[in-house]
Symmetry: C2
Subunit: 328 residues, 2 copies
Amino acid sequence: MKVLITGGAGFIGRMLAEKILARGTLTAPTGAATAIDELVLFDAVPPPAPRKALEGRVKTVTGDVSDKVQVDALIDRPDMSVFHLASIVSAGGEQDFDLALRVNLDGGRHILEACRRLGSKPRLVFTSSIAVFGPPGMTKRVDDFTKETPQTTYGVTKAIGELLVNDYTRKGYLDGRSARLPTVIVRPGKPNKAASSFASGVIREPLNGEACHLPVALETVMPALGYRSIVENLIRLHEVSGEAIGADRAVSFPSLDLTVGEMIAGLKRVAAGRKLGPIELRPDAEIQRIVAGWPTGTAWAKAKALGLVCDPDVDSIIRAYIEDFLEN
Amino acid sequence: MKVLITGGAGFIGRMLAEKILARGTLTAPTGAATAIDELVLFDAVPPPAPRKALEGRVKTVTGDVSDKVQVDALIDRPDMSVFHLASIVSAGGEQDFDLALRVNLDGGRHILEACRRLGSKPRLVFTSSIAVFGPPGMTKRVDDFTKETPQTTYGVTKAIGELLVNDYTRKGYLDGRSARLPTVIVRPGKPNKAASSFASGVIREPLNGEACHLPVALETVMPALGYRSIVENLIRLHEVSGEAIGADRAVSFPSLDLTVGEMIAGLKRVAAGRKLGPIELRPDAEIQRIVAGWPTGTAWAKAKALGLVCDPDVDSIIRAYIEDFLEN
């Protein structure tokens, strides 16, 4: 079977590709575990040089998910699955409303339509976000039954994506699943335009011996999950039966509700002996405004029932990052 | 100022036009009560012959709300307001998924973009529906904080509309308000493709001396509101300040939670002395499936706080229908 990962040049896209290749199989539209003979990473930007595990084993295609013709050309085999990760992120969407609608909403619709056209009811995993929640409908602790009243354009397009995935699934056009992600830590590389970027930076930059400029207070709580668990859960969500998820195909991923202070304390425990770069408070009003609209606690009974995993603590998340990106 | 009513050939559109003309003014984007010098009814079908109150006082335009060029031509004055009522309805959307997305989603986006382009932050009243609620996220009693997990394509497009109205408002592109309507009774004329059509038919057909074929059981509960109150509330929702509504611009309209049996009992009280056509049970599995997914009770604290009105009982709703359509 074929697997397409949109946003495949991104960190999660590449880690997901590695994990899928290591597995070798996924459940095909037939319902049977099937060997993967084609894995395509699609993204607006060329991927960085692949880690060893991906060398020569994936095809990369650079293009625009809001271009229907390009999307149709990618989703071309009845025996395929799609992980739709491509997205304009939160702060990026606040800067360019039209781009966020074009990529996230129009692009998402192209993906859904292309899957429908296959006629094989392919499995689709769509990455939504905890940013679908916002103050008007939100208790600070959110769950799978919390009303979605997002306060960013990014969150709005993700909430719309969940609705459309549900309806395309209900109509029998595809077999969709929406993964409502918390903040992903620890992302390697450079800060990105996500308002949550500091949650990785506050661990990553000190470990790299660099200064971290923290835009929010130490008391700020972030529901977060380690990238290894994120990737594992994307695959598990792909593999479970649609009936087990139910008519609302969106699932809030597990998360740890961590203060920035707890992340820093974990870093100091795990990295004892390493020379750490300094952490400096540099308040940023726009980032604080966006983050203040996010929930500070999550409940994820549905994810648990479906067998999705959660990291035991922030220390293990930091150790995994050191192992994957500093020691290997 | 100019007022545009999309879906203006429909029953609510025309009743709304009458009421607006009777008022003579609405709050313009300037914030001041302003005389209406142009009222346009836009619809996919030509309007029926106007009732006396509308003769010569409105312009009617026939066209397609999913055609961006046509929509842009209609939304052409900074000093205007839009009531966006045009929609493929529930059963119609189940029959033609692509049409529902084109008219309700693409058409809705054209309306939003055209309002944004004016630059004057015009007021927009968008009619959403109680059909945004569905079993996965729903308690049978719904309110303004109930998660929207619609189980019809119609409901999905309405939930998406609410999200987009909120975000265009948050960005300062327009001043939007979404009216989450219960079932409207008593609609005159013929049955339509709405799954809720029987709620009017069970009163209207007997009064016209015709047989009513009831597709659902007498115990079926429908949150419903009389059309006079619907129209009054659309205008009140247009007139209140956006700040009073808050960041979630969608408002569940007041409703009476009526069983079909209660509607029939009301009919027999109000129409005592009239010869009524027979009511025959003709169960319809598809209508029952759709209706079973709808809530059976509503709470509408926000609507009440904003000064929206509710009919005192079903009898007064039936009396209004007789007065407006059988006696005049």
